[in-house]
């Protein structure tokens, strides 16, 4: 097992550890994910049919409707949300959704998380310190 540490920037406070789920493409929480089941439903999305529930979700940034903040909150409210979020650069819709949902979130890491982290890696996000630990 190897361990790697990335340093970045806190978006939403908190700590969480879990299995990584990586998407190379942006995610829309309004329409793109069904909050009742926590599954990506956007047609043709690389994560279509995949559950984001309890994952450390890594994607470049948010996209789509400004209703996405409440939809992320709804995922958390129904306990179908991700444990933590890592973005290259947070967009305001996902940022505020993570803040109000108490989902730890970081962005602007010193290495590209989409290249360094693979789906299935065990990842620990310590948003307060702005640190991401990766176990491979």
């Amino acid at each position: 097992m190897t361990e790697m540490i990335l340093k970045g920037h806190k978006v939403a406070k908190g700590k969480a550890k879990g299995e990584a789920l990586v998407s190379q493409s942006p995610i829309s929480f309004m329409g793109g994910v069904n909050p009742e089941v926590g599954i990506v439903v956007e047609k043709g999305h690389e994560l279509e049919g995949v559950s984001i529930c309890d994952k450390i979700l890594i994607f470049p940034t948010g996209k789509g409707s400004t209703a996405g903040s409440y939809q992320l909150y709804e995922l958390a409210y129904l306990k179908k949300g991700p444990k933590a979020i890592i973005n290259i650069r947070a967009d305001s819709i996902v940022a505020i959704g993570a803040i109000m949902s108490n989902i730890p979130m970081v962005d602007r890491l010193d290495q590209n998380p989409l290249k360094v982290i693979e789906t299935g890696d065990i990842v620990e996000v310590d948003a307060d310190q702005g640190i991401v630990r990766i176990e491979k």
Partner: protein, 403 residues
């Protein structure tokens, strides 16, 4: 405000805004002129968001700036006839009441800027609704980030928002260029260009050239709407048209756009974009959805002209979505009667993505024709329907017959 001197809801709102500001390294807050709330309905807000909004109202939260609302999940007077449940109706009424108690203008439309709530140039605002954000920033020259529901709600209560992103001059310059080579003839043609631009620009500010200076308000509304479906664009410039783009140099902040950031939109791209949005033919449609974003009065007049002397076929329904304010205007001009006499329905206060996920299935709307790429995305993702995309003139003979 943060220490609770102005009450709990002000304190909570400021805490949320400070956390948001911190995540963007905002130096301070800025006072806003207005707010526009997305998800003022129990479907897009969800159970969690609905409880969140109602709790703020119960605790006495009040908006300190004019605050408008995006579409609700149903039309308050036709819900029974349209097949919505009483339970949903009551949930909507309770949530709308909570927003009204806080002082909201319950206009329930995505086009607040066309019904008396247009921001002025350089005015700082906190608006949600991606299409309205683009109109406010690009066409009006106001300043807003794309505000999620809770962020706009907190800003409405605090009367301020963190100063970052599109509130700052340096982030408003164009970063890539789209060169239009197509003779765009109608609102849908502009929407096709908009969908193409969203895919390419992602989250950057595009400068669009090759657009006639005669482009109308409706065309700009339709151009911007699909930007944030495929991307998360907040702002754009049309050289010689939008207020921050008298010249390409001003629009880009005197930076030269690099050659790999210049993209052409020609007939090939136009056709490919249109085709990528169609998975069915128009003859398969059970429902036609027009008016996304909500139709303006001039668009209603055009739809009325296209539908005149026709009758909607019994196998299909036509919805034209608009604001209640505009429907009343259309009534006074005789346009509403002219549309409704064909069997098409003017639907106000609502929009399909705000309706329950299983609503289309229950009503038997599995295949939908629309003239809006944004509607294609939301109907296919939130309603599991298959879509045809094209302007109404393309399929008017299929969905109606001559009277």
């Amino acid at each position: 405000m943060l220490d609770g001197k102005y009450g709990e809801t002000m304190q909570n709102s400021m805490e949320l805004l400070v956390a948001l500001g911190d995540s963007y390294d905002a130096e301070r807050m800025v006072s806003i002129g207005s707010a526009h709330l997305v998800s003022p309905n129990p479907i897009s807000a969800g159970k969690g968001g609905t409880a969140f909004i109602k709790e703020i109202a119960t605790k006495g939260g009040k908006f300190v700036v004019p605050t408008t609302t995006n579409p609700a999940c149903l039309e308050p007077w036709s819900w029974r006839e349209m097949g919505f449940s009483e339970e949903l109706y009551l949930e909507q009424v309770a949530l709308s009441q909570a927003i009204a108690e806080m002082g909201g203008f319950l206009c329930n439309t995505c086009i607040p800027y066309l019904i008396g709530h247009a921001p002025r140039m350089r005015e700082h605002i906190a608006w949600g609704e991606s299409s309205a954000v683009l109109y406010a920033n690009a066409v009006c020259g106001a300043r807003t980030n794309r505000e999620g529901g809770p962020a706009a709600l907190a800003a409405a209560i605090a009367g301020r928002t963190p100063l970052y992103g599109y509130h700052l001059d340096e982030n408003r310059f164009g970063e890539l260029e789209i060169v239009n080579r197509v003779d765009l003839k109608c609102d849908s043609d502009y929407a096709t260009l908009g969908y193409f631009i969203g895919k390419i620009a992602q989250n950057r500010v595009p400068i669009i050239t090759g657009i006639p200076t005669t482009i109308s308000q409706d065309e700009m509304k339709c151009l911007g709407a699909p930007f944030a479906v495929t991307g998360s664009i907040s702002h754009y410039h049309i050289v010689g048209v939008t207020p921050e783009a008298p010249t390409e140099g001003v629009a880009s902040g005197k930076k030269r756009i690099r050659s790999f950031d210049i993209h052409e939109f020609g007939l090939k791209e136009f056709k490919e974009t249109e085709e990528s949005l169609c998975v069915i033919g128009p003859e398969e449609a059970e429902l036609v959805v027009l008016g996304c974003p909500h139709a303006s009065i001039t668009q209603l007049k055009k739809y009325a002209a296209t539908l005149s002397e026709r009758k909607v076929k019994p196998t299909v329904e036509i919805w034209i979505l608009t604001s209640d304010v505009i429907k009343n205007y259309a009534k006074s001009l005789g346009i509403a009667d002219s549309i409704e006499s064909t069997g098409a329905r003017l639907v106000t206060n609502t929009c399909p993505p705000a309706m329950p996920r299983d609503f289309f299935k229950k009503k038997g709307y599995r295949r939908v024709a629309t003239d809006s790429p944004k509607m294609v995305y939301y109907v296919s993702t939130t309603k599991d329907a298959l879509c045809y995309y094209g302007k109404l003139e393309n399929f008017i003979d299929i969905v109606t017959r001559k009277r």
